[in-house]
Symmetry: C2
Subunit: 338 residues, 2 copies
């Protein structure tokens, strides 16, 4: 009888690329979720699709080279982008990335890297990352919210992302919560995002400063009668200093996120909700109790609230990239029948 | 070699009982969705759980006897109720049915009928009925809305109802669409149901008549400074006569249903939506274009709208009972490993 050989259990490596509106984060991650290496570059979205994809591949190559690895060492690559990814691997128009309408995202990445590539929307990927390796582990129905410049999210239902029959859905920030209310970046009025995001919050701060003449340490973000999106670190400072304009604006953001979460519990009855994104990385502990209190008052029927654990995300900046990796791993295993 | 025998293909029969707030509808339906017999009784909900269940069983027996059948001829019975049904077969408190909190719905029906019984919430059952035998056939993701006294709905996702991890979810009418808006029967403000239901509409009509002093053929529903829920047939008459108060109120209802449908397309990206309930049985053709137009303007991203077919329900009053049958058939087949 032949001597039993030890099974080689070397982990497979995956690439994850988070192509954001302003920066690209590339990661090399093993199949257990251990981060091997990371690298960052500016997106330079204004230079168009081709340049952004070249930069995405270069960022991943940089991460690989830090560990003396090459594209050939990767089993597959997950690419997360701020737009949906269609079944044919192209993307629809992106408001913050000119020239992406119909662009061959997956084909281009596969040509640049020589590896199998799989693409997903960034907020879906972030939710999936938290589901596989973060605060959403072992949830049956998980809803993720990422509160940054906008409000994005995703739903993992019984192990799979809900992406809609056309892959365009799960735009969790673009539901009407105040008919006729504040205008949103999407052009509609009263979307959840127009209240529960830094864009919404920054507009409110600008109003307080410009129209109501109030003092605030955040006034520096209002220039020449226009506003800039306030940095999360500045919000943290202002909130902790008790700046009244900042406190009121952040309380409003938390209130509306609670309204939204109450809605989504009423619709999905999830066992877990995770909240991440810049604002909650900076002020999660302070804002979470307010979010929960509003959500509790909105859930119908009321007892449903206690069955949902609402918690802060765990993967921070890595959520999207790790989610892209987890998604690519699943897609590859499905394709190869593992 | 034995001669091949013809396989006996006699259809199995199922019972379906739709226990509503005011009436009970019982049906005998075969496994192809053919309605064999029906019977109706008043619910007499105020008499408490035990009396209602006795009446439910008696109504089904009446339907059976019309065709010289008995409980023993049924493979299983589906029971639809205006509350959720928990995994242990009990029900939580029901606002319109006193004495149902923790009541053993399934155990009691099984004792009364001697057959295997399965229970589901009425709006979930109605959506499932349309999915299996009505306007939702072959949909991948189907959302059903039933616009009557309240606004109920359900979601069939890839063949199964989304009921929440606690079975309390899919309360599609109780999401906030106007923060701080009109008060809802659930106690919250600005729910979709407080605008897109007969209760919401009737309150608006009462306001127009009592507070604004307007004339309307619907004024008869306002008595002694209070309002009664307007019958769908009266709404149909008034709308077709061009009664201004009725037209404005129904247009508002259609507008808000469109807002809600826009939201649900944005969340789920369904390939089909069906709309039923008394209001749309009476005025579906008139109101559907308005609902679609508002929904189209609210969906994000916009191209997603065209992938969703929005259509009127087909089963009318039978949707809930037939859905209960379809659900019972599925549960029985799953239990017996078919």
């Amino acid at each position: 009888m032949a001597k039993k050989q030890a099974v080689k259990t070397e982990p497979r490596l995956f690439g994850g690329v988070d192509v954001g509106g302003t920066k690209i984060l590339a990661m090399v991650v093993d199949d257990k979720g251990n981060v091997v290496s990371t690298a960052k570059k500016k997106t330079k979205g204004e230079a168009g699709f081709k340049v952004v994809l070249d930069r995405a591949a270069a960022t991943l190559q940089e991460a690989l080279e830090l560990e003396n690895l090459a594209f050939a060492d990767l089993a597959a690559i997950g690419v997360a982008v701020p737009v949906p990814v269609m079944p044919d691997g192209t993307t629809p128009a992106a408001s913050n990335l000119p020239g992406w309408k119909g662009a061959p995202l997956i084909a281009t990445m596969e040509k640049l890297t020589g590896r199998p590539c799989f693409g997903e929307n960034d907020c879906n990927a972030g939710t999936y990352g938290e589901y596989v390796w973060g605060a959403g582990k072992n949830a049956k129905t998980l809803i993720g919210f990422f509160v940054g410049t906008g409000l994005g999210g995703g739903v993992v239902y019984h192990g799979e992302l809900i992406v809609g029959e056309n892959r365009l859905a799960a735009e969790l920030g673009h539901v009407t919560v105040k008919e006729g209310g504040r205008i949103c970046g999407c052009g509609h009025k009263g979307c959840l995002e127009s209240y529960a995001s830094k864009t919404g919050l920054s507009r409110r701060v600008a109003w307080e400063v410009l129209m109501e003449g109030r003092q605030s340490v955040l006034a520096q973000y209002v220039q020449d009668g226009r506003y800039n999106t306030i940095k999360s670190s500045a919000l943290q400072d202002a909130y902790r200093k008790g700046d009244a304009v900042a406190v009121e604006a952040l309380d409003e953001l938390a209130h509306y996120l609670g309204v939204g979460i109450g809605m989504y519990i009423t619709i999905f009855g999830p066992d877990r909700i995770v909240i991440g994104g810049g604002v909650f990385e900076a002020l999660g502990k302070e804002l979470l109790p307010k979010v929960k209190e509003t959500a509790r008052l909105r859930v119908f029927p009321e007892p449903s609230f206690k069955d949902t654990k609402i918690t802060l995300a765990e993967l921070g900046d890595y959520a999207v990239g790790m989610g892209a990796v987890a998604y690519a791993k699943d897609c590859l295993d499905k394709k190869t029948g593992k």
